[in-house]
Amino acid sequence: MSIELIHVSKSFDTNPIVRDVSVSIATGELFVLLGASGSGKSTLLRLIAGLLELDGGTILLNDIDVTRLSPQQRGTGFVFQNYSLFRHMTVAQNIEFGLSIRKVKRPEREQKVSELLELIELQGYEDRFPGQLSGGQQQRVALARALAYEPNVLLLDEPFGALDVKIRVQLRQNLRAIQQRLGLTAILVTHDQEEAFDIADRIGIIDQGELLEVGAPDQLYRNPTHRFTATFLGTANLLDAHRNGTNIYLGGVKIPAPANTEQFSGKPVEVLARPEEVALSRTQEQSPGSIIGKGIVESVVFAGPALRVTLHLQGEGGKTLQALLTPSDVRDLDLAVGQEVWISLKEYHLLASSVK
């Protein structure tokens, strides 16, 4: 294991910011810490780098206990959102900063700088100053600076947060490629779920200082264990239900229980269906999934490649549901606001009910 956190916690004054976080990150893994602002994700990253002292717990880097070591001794590579390049140094001087501290000889330093410039595709920029570079270029230099001294792990704090969407997408794919090529272990902190889905091997969901859930992107999206994960990642339709035998009962409606959900037997549950898992039909017979009832179309909104349909589910709950349909589906159904349709679920998952 390259990074191991064991019961790590940190408070500011009496305010707990990181609560009892434990996680292991394998060598060569890109782990994304995903959470809202103020969730404690950046604090956790600073704890790993040694920029903050932890109140409790242990941190291992490459199987060595670094809990009591200074940031200098930990050898992490840190990249900040605002680049934090040394503005009075050239690109080359920034990149070789870690090497000159380690008293690496000049020819070797120059060799390394030119290798890294090639890696970040900024050959010929050695003598520029940070002020002469664009945001994206500066962030690439910041990455090269963190890679120059071959750090144990790479820690990235919202590295693309200050960039335009287009550059952001391009840069994160570059980062992913570099990370995989060099076999780096990295933790990237972000609040952007699209970014997390795009590059993560695994995602850790953090909320109010607690690491709620860790898993592969698709697993967390399709089959989360926590309600927070379900609602934080994408849009979630949640319906109160009860699991009994091999069925789930939504009020008076019965649908089959998904496989491997025996642990919920006899308990109140919530049914999670993503908007793209909700299907609509004109008649009961045409339903492609398990019917949960009839609903009224409240709105149909253009959402790029798909259309977002808001429905009012009829029945005692009176829930509002979101469905994502292709333009051709909408045309075939001849959907209009106020129309009554059958709602069915093509796929669905169970969560432990938040209602006790």
Partner: protein, 291 residues
């Protein structure tokens, strides 16, 4: 000190804020310019000219004689050396103080921060009185220093330096503090993760950023202390060849009615102070040009 130079450099006196009145080109702007220029002329340029004319009234030879008299040389040397010593000490300690004020929390910090400006407000004569009360031969401190360590503070060079340290105290602090406040703290964090020791971080990351402000503060305090009079006359008295500084020498010559000698030495003091201010301006210019 980019902000400062912006204030001086980029605000155009002639520019008028947008108003509902129809804009009359020329008059308002020129009127303001004329006022500013006359104000400068009447209160700065003319007195400067008069001193120079007076100093050079009997030609360069006499001017040279006036400033090469042993008393004059000693007085000017004492002024420059004590000011230099003060500048070195205050630059180091002022930078340290600014760093502590920006980076650390401690009880009484707000009060500390207010006290820093006090030397700007206290009459320097009062500073002299305070020092006499503290270091005088009858006081505990003065007695101890004199008898145990054999150091004489009053009527001697140490007294002058101490007075100047007080007078020049705020300059470097107030120049460096805003730059440190503005500095992105991630820079020092990143330097640490890269492996830089606190000293290396200061030397290679913080120092290059605050250096221009340090130099500005140092030059300002140097120029200021070169002209210091009130506290010195109280603390060091007026002993020629020993505790008589340039300004005190000028005062003595004025008292004796020797305006030519007074003007000549004044010119030298002016020249040194002027060089210091020009140095600040040139530095700001260079920084401006680079950005």
């Amino acid at each position: 000190m980019a902000e400062q130079s912006q204030v001086y450099g980029s605000s155009n006196i002639g520019e008028q804020p947008p108003s509902s009145r129809p804009y009359v080109p020329g008059f308002g702007a020129w009127g303001l310019r004329l006022m500013a220029i006359s104000y400068l002329t009447v209160f700065i340029v003319i007195p400067l000219l008069v001193v120079n004319v007076q100093g050079l009234r009997f030609g360069l030879d006499v001017f040279w004689q006036s400033i090469s008299r042993p008393e004059a040389v000693s007085a000017l040397t004492l002024s420059v050396t004590t000011s230099l010593v003060m500048t070195v000490i205050n630059t180091v300690m002022g930078t340290l103080t600014a760093y502590v004020l920006v980076r650390y929390k401690f009880p009484g910090k707000t009060l500390f921060n207010t006290l820093v400006d006090l030397p700007f407000a206290i009459p320097t004569l009062v500073i002299g009185v305070m020092l006499v009360l503290l270091y005088g031969p009858q006081t505990i401190v003065g007695k101890f220093l004199q008898q145990e360590l054999g150091v004489r503070i009053l009527f001697d060079t140490p007294g002058i330096v101490i007075a100047l340290l007080l007078v020049g105290y705020p300059f470097v602090i107030r120049a460096v503090q805003p730059v440190l406040l503005q500095m992105d703290s991630n820079q020092t964090d990143v330097a640490q993760t890269i492996g830089a020791s606190p000293w290396t971080t200061f030397r290679r990351v913080i120092f290059p950023i605050i250096r221009p402000a340090m130099v500005t503060g140092a030059l300002l305090s140097f120029a200021r202390s070169l002209g210091e009079f009130g506290s010195i006359i109280v603390v060091a008295g007026n002993i020629p060849m020993r505790s008589q500084t340039g300004t005190v020498y000028v005062y003595t010559q004025v008292e004796a009615g020797n305006m030519q000698a007074a003007s000549s030495v004044s010119m030298v003091l002016l020249l040194v102070a002027f060089a210091a201010t020009i140095g600040i301006d040139m530095m700001n210019w260079r920084r401006h040009a680079r950005n």
